[in-house]
């Protein structure tokens, strides 16, 4: 939508995903948008190198979040939130509405 601001479409999707869900790892982001893992990983590493994201190891995966020390963290997230509001409802449902609250094992999803 506004990929020119972020450099490219994958970077925009990565940042929107992280603003939406708070955190994410390569495979989850790639699966969500049907992108290749290498494409997503490349952007995550670029954004990490530039200090926009930070990564922490969780088991064998690296989970990325916004760098809490990034000076423009708040306005950047606010901008991404504004963009999320402009995402068409069908795309919101498809990409940005994964259930994140817990559900007891064996219980059917509503």
């Amino acid at each position: 939508m506004y990929s020119a601001i972020f450099g490219n479409e994958t970077a925009e999707k990565v940042l929107l995903y992280l603003a939406n869900y708070g955190e994410g790892h390569t495979r989850a982001i790639a699966t969500t948008f049907s992108l290749s893992t290498s494409q997503v990983y490349q952007q995550l590493i670029r954004l990490e190198k530039e200090g926009i994201l930070v990564a922490k190891p969780v088991g064998r995966t690296k989970v990325f979040t916004f760098n809490p020390r990034l000076a423009i963290r708040k306005p950047l997230i606010a901008l991404l939130e504004d963009i999320l509001l402009l995402v068409p409802p069908e795309d919101q449902k498809k990409y940005f509405r994964d259930r994140r609250r817990p559900r007891k094992t064996g219980k059917e999803l509503s």
Partner: protein, 181 residues
């Protein structure tokens, strides 16, 4: 009589009535409350009640209504709605315990539940702490259909350290409201 046409609210009333008859009480919380306040715009498949009564005693009452226990869930052959009694106390974020401020009369039975404001805050707590945007949407749905106390929601959000996410809620609400008008 519970059948396929029994609504969520009617079922909640049946359960409330049966529990009261046996000296117990329960409060309806969670997604079922959202369904009730949004006229099923959000459809929950289950009813979550919080009760201080012993689970064994609750199970006996549920059996008299025709429910069968499946693990912690209660299922009925005539309805797709399942019932659960998660452990209490009732809380919303750091506010524990919370006194439920909602009640709906079904005939001569009073179903106790979260108020629209409390239900909005309950849904927002999943958005605030688990980044669950389905619950953000549900909170917005309630606020669009029911009178809610935005000042109270803001106060609670700030208490939880969630000022920025409250802004996301308000912006989403205003955006949907503008599209509705």
């Amino acid at each position: 009589m519970i059948n396929a046409k029994t609504t969520r609210l009617q079922l909640a009333a049946e359960i409330t009535k049966a529990l009261e008859k046996n000296g117990m009480s329960a409060v309806l919380v969670g997604g079922a409350v959202v369904s009730i306040y949004t006229d099923n715009e959000y459809e929950s498949k289950d009813l979550d009640f919080i009760s201080s009564a012993e689970h064994k005693k609750i199970a006996q009452v549920m059996k008299t209504l025709g429910f069968e226990a499946e693990g912690k869930n209660f299922c009925h052959p005539n309805t797709n709605l399942s019932v659960e009694f998660p452990s209490g106390p009732i809380g919303i974020g750091d506010r524990v315990p919370v006194k439920p401020e909602g009640q709906i009369k079904v005939g001569n039975i009073t179903v106790i539940l979260f108020s629209p404001t409390q239900s909005t805050m309950d849904r927002l707590s999943w958005f605030y702490f688990n980044n669950d945007r389905q619950c953000l949407d549900q909170a917005v749905m309630i606020a669009l259909k029911q009178p809610v106390d935005f000042k109270e929601i803001k106060k609670w959000s700030l208490e939880e350290g969630m000022g920025s996410k409250f802004e996301v809620f308000m912006n989403t609400y205003k955006n949907k409201l503008a599209k509705k008008e």
